[in-house]
C-alpha cells in the first residue's frame, strides 16, 4: 500500500465564510460547520470556538480529537463510519497538520478530560500545541447514553471532514509517503533485517469504552492484522472515553506515533511487517482467546520482535502481560508501552498484573500524578465537569477557577502509544 500525505502546516486559525488555508492560516466557515452538524436531526445545538497554543484557555470535558483532512482518491470522510466503506491506506490525502477538531459536551455523567493551552497544563497534553477548533455538541433531549455517545462521536468526525475541506486546494508544505508492500516482497528486499510487528491493544468494553475499525465495533472481532497505512488513513476511530490520559483519540490513531517510528526504521534496521489490532475484552475467556490469537498471528507472520501498546489501565494490564508472556515463550522479543498507577506520591505498585517475561517496558507516566493548574481566562465547556472526570474529585475545582487533578484527567498525558514525552524516573 502507498499513502501520500500532503501536509499543510497550520500556524493560526480564524473564523470566516469559507474553509480555506492561506499562508498557514486556516479559515473555518463557522456557520457552515454548525449548519452541517445540525443536519443530524439528533443534534440540538452546536457551539464553535477556537483555542490556540499560548491562549489562557481551558477546554473541558473533551471527548475526542480529530485531525482535519481531505481524501482525494477515496470517498472523503471516515469509511464505514461517516461515509460508505472504502479501503483506506492508498492514494493521496491532504492534512491540516497542526490543526485539530476538539469535541466537548457532557455525556453519560462522567468521563473525559482537560486540555490547557498554556502554562503547567500545556506541558502535559500534546493538544496544547495544536490550533484547536472546539466544537460543543448538545444532542436532542431524551436520548439514552449509548445514543448520546454515538451522536457526539459522529458529529466530531463529520466536523473533522468539514474543516478538512480547506485542505483540498491548499498549498502543500511537505509530502510524506508511507509505503509498505506485501510481506513476501519486503522480505525479499530486506532478507537480513529482523521482522517487527506492532500489536495495538484497544479498549473494547462497551459504552464509552469502544473502538471502531471501518465502523466495526472491534470488541466483536478476533484480533486481526491490518496494514499500518489503514490506521494512518483514518480507518480506526475512537469511541472511547475512558481515562483521558491514555485513551487513544481518533487524532492519535490517524497519526499513530508507533506506526510512524516503526516506518522510520523500515528498511534500515527492521523489516516492518504490519500491525495487529488486539481488543481488550471484559471476560477472562475473551482475554485468553485474544491474547493467544495475537501471539499466534505474530508467530505465523514470522515476527522476530513485537511492540505492544496498551490502552487504559487496570484489567488491560492483564492482557498486556499475557500477550507479552505468550510472545516471549514463542521466542519473540517484546517491548511494551504502558502507563502506571503508582499513587499520588508515586510509591505504590505501578501495575495490577505482572509477568516475569515483561523485561522491556516503556512507562508513559503515572496517571495518578497530581498537577495544579492555575485559573484560565477562558473556559470552553464546563469547568465543573472536572469534578466528575476520572482523575478529578469533588472539590478539585477551586473557587478562583484553578484546578487540581491527576494526569488521569489530562488528554493524552500518558499516551500508551507513546504520543507524548512523559516517562517515569525512580528516585
Amino acid at each position: 500500500m502507498k499513502l501520500e500525505q500532503g501536509l499543510i502546516y497550520i500556524k493560526d486559525v480564524v473564523g470566516g465564510s469559507e474553509n480555506a488555508v492561506k499562508d498557514g492560516v486556516l479559515t473555518v466557515d463557522v456557520e457552515g460547520l454548525k449548519a452541517h452538524l445540525l443536519e443530524d436531526p439528533k443534534v440540538k445545538a452546536v457551539e464553535v470556538d477556537f483555542a490556540k497554543p499560548g491562549d489562557h484557555t481551558r477546554i473541558v470535558p473533551v471527548k475526542d480529537v480529530i485531525e482535519p483532512r481531505f481524501n482525494f482518491d477515496r470517498v472523503n470522510g471516515f469509511p464505514g463510519m461517516t461515509v460508505k466503506y472504502n479501503e483506506c491506506g492508498n492514494g493521496r490525502v491532504n492534512v491540516l497538520r497542526g490543526a485539530a477538531v476538539v469535541t466537548i459536551g457532557d455525556a453519560v455523567g462522567f468521563q473525559e478530560g482537560v486540555i490547557d493551552m498554556w502554562g503547567e497544563g500545556a506541558l502535559w497534553t500534546p493538544f496544547s500545541k495544536t490550533y484547536n477548533i472546539v466544537v460543543d455538541i448538545t444532542p436532542i433531549d431524551g436520548v439514552d447514553p449509548h445514543e448520546h455517545e454515538t451522536i457526539v462521536r459522529m458529529a466530531g468526525l463529520r466536523a473533522g471532514t468539514y474543516v478538512g475541506l480547506a485542505a483540498e486546494n491548499a498549498t502543500v508544505d511537505e509530502v510524506k509517503t508511507w509505503e509498505l508492500g506485501p510481506m513476501k516482497e519486503e522480505a525479499e528486499k530486506y532478507p537480513d533485517l529482523p521482522k517487527v510487528a506492532y500489536v495495538q491493544m484497544t479498549i473494547s468494553q462497551g459504552l464509552l469504552h469502544d473502538v471502531y475499525m471501518y465502523g466495526v465495533d472491534v470488541k466483536e472481532i478476533i484480533p486481526t492484522w491490518f496494514h499500518p497505512n489503514e490506521e494512518l488513513d483514518s480507518a480506526i476511530v475512537s469511541g472511547n472515553c475512558v481515562a483521558a490520559c491514555d485513551k487513544i483519540t481518533t487524532y492519535q490513531h490517524q497519526t499513530n506515533p508507533l506506526t510512524e517510528d516503526l516506518y522510520e526504521q523500515h528498511g534500515k534496521t527492521i523489516n516492518y511487517i504490519g500491525n495487529i489490532l488486539s481488543p481488550e475484552l471484559t471476560t477472562l475467556d475473551g482475554k485468553f482467546r485474544n491474547c493467544d490469537y495475537t501471539a499466534k498471528l505474530c508467530e505465523q507472520l514470522g515476527a522476530d520482535g513485537v511492540i505492544v501498546s496498551e490502552e487504559g489501565y487496570g484489567n488491560p494490564d492483564s492482557d498486556l502481560v499475557m500477550i507479552c508472556k505468550r510472545l516471549e515463550t514463542r521466542g519473540i522479543k517484546t517491548a511494551l508501552v504502558t502507563d502506571e498507577c503508582s499513587g499520588w506520591d508515586g510509591t505504590s505498585q505501578p501495575l495490577t498484573d505482572t509477568a516475569p517475561e515483561a523485561v522491556a517496558v516503556v512507562s508513559s507516566g503515572n496517571v495518578s500524578k497530581v498537577v495544579e493548574l492555575e485559573p484560565a481566562d477562558k473556559v470552553l465547556g464546563n469547568l465543573k465537569a472536572a469534578e466528575t472526570v476520572a482523575g478529578g474529585w469533588a472539590g478539585c475545582v477551586g473557587e478562583d477557577g484553578s484546578l487540581k487533578v491527576e494526569l488521569n484527567a489530562v488528554i493524552g498525558a500518558t499516551s500508551e502509544i507513546g504520543y507524548h514525552n512523559a516517562s517515569v524516573k525512580l528516585y
Binding site: 471476560t283 477472562l284 482475554k287 484489567n315 494490564d317 492483564s318 495490577t352
Partner: protein
C-alpha cells in the same frame, strides 16, 4: 483490599472476572464471574435465568467461605 481483609483472619472470596489478576495480587478464594461490567449478572439472559445464575454464583461463593484451602483456589462451576 482482599489480602488486607484476609490478614484479619476473615475468609474472603474475591468474585472477579479477570481471575488472573486476582491470583497475581494474592487473593486466596477466587470465584470467576461473568464480565467486568456485570460480574454477578448477565443482561443478555431473561430475568429469571439471570437471577438463577446470580443465586448459584453467590451460593458457590458462600460455600467457598466454608471450604478450607491450602493454596489459591478458583471455585469454578
Amino acid at each position: 483490599m482482599v489480602k488486607e481483609i484476609e490478614r484479619y483472619g476473615i475468609p474472603i472470596v474475591h468474585m472477579a472476572t479477570i481471575t488472573t489478576i486476582s491470583s497475581s495480587v494474592g487473593a486466596r478464594r477466587i470465584l470467576p464471574t461473568v464480565a467486568i461490567p456485570y460480574p454477578t449478572g448477565n443482561p443478555n439472559l431473561p430475568d429469571v435465568e439471570e437471577h438463577d445464575l446470580r443465586k448459584s454464583m453467590v451460593e458457590r461463593a458462600v460455600n467457598a467461605l466454608a471450604t478450607d484451602i491450602e493454596e489459591t483456589t478458583e471455585f469454578e462451576e
